[in-house]
């Protein structure tokens, strides 16, 4: 049974392998994000190394690469993944483990790569790409006054109206506790400590439940990144959590009347992983391309097109020197970065290990809570 299934999957994948078998295949989320990667560092790397890089879209998760591996016909080389997926994929043996400082170039001033990144990697298979933020924004036309803190997001008395929050438990539990008075501590350590206990989880769930059942409040759950700015602009909600790059796109790119609040933001990351046994694994091309794409200068390039922070600290200096860095030629990008000092006065780092550990059970509790709304 197993051999036949492998054979079948192999056939189906063999058909999907196109003429570009020799190019390095990089897989990412598509849309403006992939665009920023392709223009920011993909094309320059391809040009510098003489390696063709093909960008392919996917919708996240590891199911496709796992199926490719089971079929024995891997067609992807580099994948842009969530933190949790680097851990799960590394555990499953899907990805190449890195020798970090050997595989990745140091910063221009000689700082080794492992010291140049904002935090340590969640697994041996990950190399940082961008940092993005789960912050919140409000519609300036529909909100009287200026929300400033994460507590204001939950304050329906002062700021009545519906809120849009993410459909899953991820980051919602964290902001609920931050708004309920738990100081995040360094990188959010105190929040996650509280969430380790049943009491903490219930406290967070109750806070969300209170917001959603409040006649002055109410919740809309979003699932796609494009939804939060859309819901804000249409007036369906007065405040929405979302990804800062999307808010930036609506605010600066399209001039929508929305404003971001950084208090209590959750810093999250995107990583690159290299697929073990990918078409360009043995010949070293994939690793070479990946090392170049995640170098100081290259990472800074993507921030020209989207408001996500390059993972390397040294990239910020390049952006500062080049301001206004945004592609429109008049917007300063450094203050828009989730990592900018004025934006990180009160924040937490989304903890991939916590979510890899507890994601399923918390997810079930979350859905059960939602079902009772």
């Amino acid at each position: 049974m197993k051999t036949i299934s492998k054979l079948l999957l192999a056939i189906s994948f063999a058909i999907s392998v196109t003429t570009s078998a020799f190019a390095v295949t990089a897989v990412s989320w598509g849309g403006a994000y992939t665009e920023s990667q392709k223009l920011g560092y993909g094309d320059p790397t391809a040009k510098a190394l003489g390696i063709e890089i093909n960008w392919v879209d996917y919708s996240g998760g590891l199911s496709e690469i796992k199926a490719q591996k089971e079929a024995g016909a891997i067609t992807w080389d580099i994948i842009d993944v969530f933190a949790m997926d680097t851990i799960n994929g590394c555990d499953e043996g899907l990805f190449v483990e890195f020798d970090f400082d050997k595989d990745f170039p140091p910063a221009p001033d000689g700082t080794p790569a492992s010291k140049d990144f904002f935090t340590a990697m969640p697994s041996k298979c990950a190399v940082g790409n961008i940092l993005y933020s789960w912050n919140y924004a409000y519609n300036t036309n529909n909100v009287k006054g200026t929300p400033k803190t994460i507590k204001d997001f939950f304050n329906t008395e002062k700021f009545p109206g519906k809120r849009a929050i993410y459909k899953g438990a991820l980051t919602n539990l964290e902001i609920a506790l931050a708004a309920d008075g738990i100081k995040p501590g360094k990188g959010g350590a105190k929040i996650y400590k509280a969430l380790e206990t049943e009491k903490g989880v219930n406290r967070a769930m109750d806070k969300i439940k209170a917001l959603c059942t409040d006649p002055n409040g109410g919740c809309v759950f979003w699932s796609a990144g494009a939804q939060p700015p859309e819901l804000l602009v249409s007036g369906e909600v007065v405040m929405a959590t979302g990804w800062n790059g999307r808010f930036f796109g609506a605010e600066v790119g399209e001039g929508a009347p929305i404003k971001q609040v950084w208090d209590g933001q959750g810093l999250d990351y995107e990583y690159f992983v290299q697929v073990k046994g990918g078409p360009n694994d043995a010949n070293g091309k994939a690793k070479k391309a990946l090392a170049m794409m995640t170098s100081t200068e290259m990472l800074a390039g993507s921030a020209k097109y989207i408001a996500y922070a390059p993972w390397r600290k040294s990239s910020i200096a390049i952006m500062e020197a080049g301001e206004p860095w945004y592609k429109d030629g008049k917007t300063n990008m450094v203050p828009q970065m989730p990592t900018a000092p004025q934006n990180t006065k009160n924040y937490f780092l989304v903890d991939p290990v916590f979510w890899a550990d507890n994601g399923t059970e918390l997810g079930e509790k979350w859905e059960a809570m939602k079902a009772g709304l």
């Binding site: 049974m1 036949i4 299934s5 079948l8 919708s59 996240g60 998760g61 590891l62 199911s63 796992k66 949790m84 851990i87 799960n88 590394c90 555990d91 499953e92 043996g93 519906k162 459909k167 959603c212 919740c219 809309v220 759950f221 699932s223 796609a224 249409s234 007036g235 369906e236 290990v353 916590f354 890899a356 550990d357 507890n358 994601g359 399923t360 059970e361 918390l362 997810g363 079930e364 509790k365 859905e367 059960a368 809570m369 939602k370 079902a371 709304l373």
Partner: protein, 417 residues
Amino acid sequence: MSSETNKILTTDGIPLEVSLKRSERKNKIKAFLLVAPLLLFLIITYIFPIGSMLTRSIDDKMVTEMLPKTYKAMETWDGKELPSEEVFEAFYFDFRNLVEEKREGKLSTQLNYTKNGFKSIIKKLRRKSKSFEEGNYKEQIMAVHKRWADVEYWQAIKRRAPAYTTQKYLKGMDMYKNESGEIVSVDEDRRIHRVLWLRTLEIAFFVTLFCFLMAYPIAHLLATLPMKYSNLLMICVLLPFWTSLLVRTASWMILLQQQGMVNDFFVWIGLVGDDNRPEMMFNKTGSYVAMTQILLPFMVLPLYSVMKTISPSLMRAGKSLGGTPLVAFWKVYFPLTIPGIGAGCLLVFILAIGYYITPALVGGASGTLISNQIAFHMKSTLDWSFASAMGLMLLTGVLAIYWVYNKIVGVDNIKLG
């Protein structure tokens, strides 16, 4: 006279019977060869995946093979209190082998499916176990993390001992087999699958009902109008059918949200107050409206194809025999359309039961259906055996409905067009 002379022979001397059988067999083989590609296709794309799903959902050999010594040592453990030093020692030696083979990550993933919290403590154990001293493994392992000293985690390990298991199916019903072999429900605040099954059935049922109520008059109109009007109407039915699913879903969001066009119109004509706009989106209403519209053509088309074949003279005959229009419709016309109703309802119901993008986008808090949960385990947790188990449960449900339908109406009475 011998019987041989009685046999009719063909011109080349072979008995006719044999010759006939031979040529029939030839025809049968030819016919089989003609359908062989289709049969092969069905086996490859249908029978085979279902078979592999079934094995995947009950096969639990992986963990059994990873921890052979542990399970041997656990045989004498009653599962009530923390296991003895013997079990800890066996676990340590199994674990050391796994670390050498770099397979401890897979173990952590598998155990994490049974009980959350294993991922990090196994990683921690890998780091710490390098400096373990010989002997007294119980204490050393328990010192790594407080969860290793929690009996629940050892019970979870024991639950994975059998090579074949029905645990995934039980989990799909919010139940599990505990260490003494009883089937019990999970904690109340984690019971989600039963709610989702019921919600999925409920939404599928009502969507089918609404589709039927709306499609019946439309199909009737289509079947009875003169050709030039009915063609135009047909295009109106089919046009949305050719539009992308996401576009249609998004249009409903624009129309029905609280600040949407429909609500704006209600406010403008004074039906509702500006601060009292009804919520028609991001709740069940949204799901019903969007799904009914999207699935409507699947009901209209079979109904239309059946109604087209019903001669108008039958209704006239019914009326001339003394029936009122209503009686004539109910006694004559309606029974004739049952094959179409059966086909349409089955089609819509089966499609609705597996729907997930639309309810996820427009359904709000109650938007998650069982298929969303399957997708979550396929893509996110990579627990494919659980996803397979739930997929098969869904399939069994559909087959059960088909069986009931067959008993009540009869499958011969389906007409798809």
